[in-house]
Subunit: 178 residues, 2 copies
Amino acid sequence: MEDRMPTPDRTSLDAIVTAGRDLLEAGGPDAVTMQAVANRVGVRAPSLYKRVADRPSLLSLVADATALDLATRLERVEGIGALARGFRSFARERPEGFRLAFSGSGSVEVLARASAPVLGAAEDLVGAAEALPAARLLTAWLVGFVSMELAGAFQLGGSVEAAFEFGLDRLEAALSTR
Amino acid sequence: MEDRMPTPDRTSLDAIVTAGRDLLEAGGPDAVTMQAVANRVGVRAPSLYKRVADRPSLLSLVADATALDLATRLERVEGIGALARGFRSFARERPEGFRLAFSGSGSVEVLARASAPVLGAAEDLVGAAEALPAARLLTAWLVGFVSMELAGAFQLGGSVEAAFEFGLDRLEAALSTR
DNA sequence: ACCTGAACACCGTTCAAGT
DNA sequence: ACCTGAACACCGTTCAAGT
């Protein structure tokens, strides 16, 4: 009973992931350095390896956290229009996290959860038989549109806003037809 | 007339970009190291800085070269279906280059040229007035679908092939309607 | 049990010195 | 005019030694 207590934890996985997320949004992937993360959570870089396997898996955790945030936001919303606008506004608020989450870092399950609400809306539109390909049409359009917007494509003039509403309109129409 | 001739060039910008492209496809962006590129072209890393400003701008040149390859392939093809399938097959042949080109590295002009054929096909479908938003709908879907496919999303089962054809079908229908 | 300094291998980039 | 070795700052990761 006279053993010294182990020193109390000086950080946590949560704090590390949050620090990674903040650094990512502030400066892109290159800015999420093990040293910068360690600095933010008040610890030295080698200590991070107690909670995280390596840098790629830290980025993967950040990707999952972002996808989870997106999922919980979309779960609160109904209808394809509101889903699409919620998806787009999330990507504009967290562009780096969005890019990371949809670029193949991160687990597939979490990403699937983020697109579950779209699957639900698609089922309402076209019925269960075609729900999956319809959801893939919608999700692909959303991901592509937002990615291109973030990448600064859409340079030929015209209103990007109008193009988004045009796409939404036509897709709804295309999927409502029997 | 007795000055020594300057030593002949031992490499070229073209060779450097090609080496970057090959390394990229073989091992992803992390593999395109200044040292690895130099090695491939038979020179030491510092020499690369005679032709290229730095690593990011080398990656940008690789992105542009990829987008140009895509553009010339699509320019040989007509009709929205053939364009869509050509786009997708290119992305599957050069996944890393595709990702890089559509992630915001690379110049906007070259990317615009790669999507010009889609703009043409869109105009044939909906007329000049709506050609731009229609092209954006098509391109966004293509980019999103292919990105998700490369990222390994589409995990819920069902045929990805069928989902692609479903999307193509519905989009053509949506844009042919008056 | 967690934390640290020291160390290692590797990378991007600069620059003076060679031809 | 291009190329090189040497050097610098920085990074990810490991590990023995501390508490």
